[in-house]
Amino acid sequence: MKRKPIVVYGLLVLVIGSLLSGCNQGEKTSEESRSSMIQSVDPEATAVKKGDHDVAEKVKKDVQSVPAIYDVAVIKGKDEILVAYKVKHMQRFHMKKIEGEINKRLEKKYPKENFIVSSDFKIFIEAIELKDRMEDKDYSSKDAEERLKKIIKFKKERT
């Protein structure tokens, strides 16, 4: 019975240590992406190239017209347009159907563009973070494109 405190303290040190070391290696996160976890943030649509801004804005409007979703993030890259959205809670039973509907709608309206559509929350966070980075003038469009590619690769990953 006397040995118990040592074991308990040892465990505590282990847990806290691993938690701290694990959490500190992440990159800096933004205020907006943090608050997106609990509320709707409605991020602005952006594009890697300056001229594509209008297209991104239009895509966002089109996607937003689907009634089952809220909070749409759109980022237009060189070849692809990343569309991330959140699904309303009770509509989450129809996730596949909603994704198909959005895909069809976009393909019909913009047959030339290549869309990456995702309802995954992680993709949404990453999109917001990339958007916040792009607002910084020092962040080059090459870096942005690279990061967008990374997000798209990430989306295709499973398990």
């Binding site: 847990v15 992440g26 993709i123 966070i125």
Partner: protein, 155 residues
Amino acid sequence: MAKQKSPEQKRYEKIEQKHEAKRPVVKNCIKAFFVGGSICLVGQAVSYFYMYYFHFTEQTAGNPTVATMIFFAMLLTGFGVYDKIGQFAGAGSAVPITGFGNSVISAAIEHRTEGFVLGVGGNMFKLAGSVILFGVFSAFVVALIKTLLLIWGVI
């Protein structure tokens, strides 16, 4: 093969039924619902944590979340908190994945006196072993059915 009950036994049953306390089914269900729900709320928070600070998507965050929840349940069992939660909530604490962690560690604690190899090691998965066995087996069967359906072109 039900044995015929003697008249005394039947009479005893009647008296017993009269005095037996009724099981509060609705109350138990409500308790289980809320406690189980809070455990799942913690799980949701953990999965958001993995999504936000690490590179996991909604799909891939499931595995580390499950592992973390089992780890939490193991700690709570070791400190003697989970028994109390289990007594209060019943199925609400046993059905989520945390119940699995509880069954592993409680068996390990129970057989500690028999030594590490034959006691802890041999008895750790007494209860949880069946979960693993039938979980793996049913996953195998489901995957087999899906593969066959895919080959035949049904889905």
